[in-house]
Symmetry: C2
Subunit: 287 residues, 2 copies
């Protein structure tokens, strides 16, 4: 495995690999965990060359968000990549990715506006822009994203379609702790009490899923069920609990087509998100 | 020469060419003239495979602009391409380029705001987006643009740099009629009287250039000279006469670094633009 820091090195290193076989990219902000590992493993199974990018992208953090304290440990991340059979780690500096003031932004209308977009202005613009940059730098045949960041995955798919980017996007399922908590780099911010309470996001989604399996289609009722579960923990502050169309992200009153159930909750200063898809064709699937 | 209408055909047709040699793209809206020919010739000299795209892009026209009457003659354009040794013409339908409502936009801050951007809201967003799409479809090693659309060329260069697009941008000089009028597809809208008066754009730029060669550096004085020349024709209505930094497009009071002198003038319902660069290192160059 090789670790490179510059765009030129990535391009040189991949010039031959690109002609000889499939290149898979797993874009990450580091702090790699079992969720990232599942993406890398999927890439390893399907691609000849697996590239992991590690870059904590400043343009997707708001001024009062956790850019400065976001966990960074390249050594530990590189060890994980090595163990998983990654071929190339691209770990650029901010200066390498943004050598001048950035003027060009990739903006996705409508899909960036609800859910996390409403509470994190500019977040998805930063994500869209840095992913487009990474796609252009690595030029992969396929890139892997996690369903944990459901809105991000939908936005990335739309960028690829709208801008005719020559790659395929694969979205892998959420990886959960044994108690159901969706694995996230930000879970390490939680203290022991918050960590116990954090499992209620999963419990809320599971409760909604059970009522859906019982035939409830009205989103108002499902949202009430989830809010009820979350309200049992005074340590959690709900940011949003929403059910939207899984493609357009527009709110739905009754579930007729696949719907995204999405939660954002604060535990102290830590923001946690989780989601599930409710689909009439598969009403009893687990979260 | 082959003419294809679909993205899949372009990609199939170029898959081998891309590996074997340099691919050059000349993006056009058709109505090909000597300006386009100079771009195609430059591509032909430098590239193994030359692709010309012909697409009148609706997203870069304002609601009251000339999208509907913009000249379209694929047969004549194809003949010109054939004669110039083009390998592949990509002439997609609007539906092929925009099969669904477009949500993803490439936006270039600051550089899109002054000059034509101020009078054509959304124009450069449309240009930036469609060029990014064309770059992703054709994946050329190099793309050719004309200096006639100076602000466009600066914006495209910035997109390529900011988004790390893996191609080179070459900007070719303005091609002029014998009387100095910059060649443009829109010149064919002019009646005989307007056509005669339209040469004053070139005369205004030439007058500014003479004063600059004589040592005048104050942009206010140079602009006054140009407005004086243009005002001699009652058939022309000045939209803007500006002198800006050739890189940032910010107004300059005195020319210390290369400056873009840019004009937009209406002759009847036809909008004409022209420009020149004033550079202290080359003060006596012609327009």
């Amino acid at each position: 495995m090789e670790i490179v820091e510059t765009i030129n090195e990535v391009r040189e290193r991949l010039a031959r690999a690109r002609v000889q076989g499939r290149v898979g990219l797993v874009p990450t902000m580091g702090a790699l965990h079992a969720g990232h590992a599942s993406l890398i493993e999927a890439a390893r199974r399907a691609c000849d060359t697996v590239v992991v990018s590690i870059f904590v992208n400043p343009t997707q953090f708001g001024p009062n968000e956790d850019f400065d304290r976001y966990p960074r440990d390249l050594r530990a991340d590189a060890d994980i990549c090595e163990r998983l059979g990654v071929d190339l780690v691209f770990a650029p500096s901010t200066r390498e990715m943004y050598p001048r003031v950035n003027r060009t932004w990739v903006e996705v209308e409508k899909l960036s506006e609800p859910l996390c977009g409403a509470r994190r202005p500019g977040h998805f613009r930063g994500v869209a822009t840095v992913c487009t940059k990474l796609f252009n730098i690595v030029q992969p045949d396929v890139a892997y994203f996690g369903q944990k960041d459901a809105q991000q995955a939908i936005i990335i798919r739309r960028i690829v379609a709208d801008l005719n980017l020559p790659l395929e996007i694969i979205v892998c399922p959420i990886v959960r702790e044994p108690d159901g908590l969706a694995i996230s780099s930000r879970n390490q911010y939680l203290d022991a009490a918050q960590r116990r309470e954090a499992t209620r996001l999963y419990q809320a989604l599971s409760a909604a899923r059970r009522r859906f399996a019982d035939g409830v289609r009205q989103t108002e009722a499902l949202i009430a069920t989830m809010r009820e579960v979350l309200s049992q923990s005074p340590a959690l502050r709900v940011e949003y609990v929403e059910i939207v169309d899984a493609e357009t992200l527009e709110p739905v009153a009754s579930i007729e087509r696949p719907a995204l159930v999405a939660l954002a909750v604060h535990a102290g200063s830590t923001r946690l998100i989780d989601n599930t898809i409710l689909d009439l064709n598969d009403p009893t699937a687990s979260v």
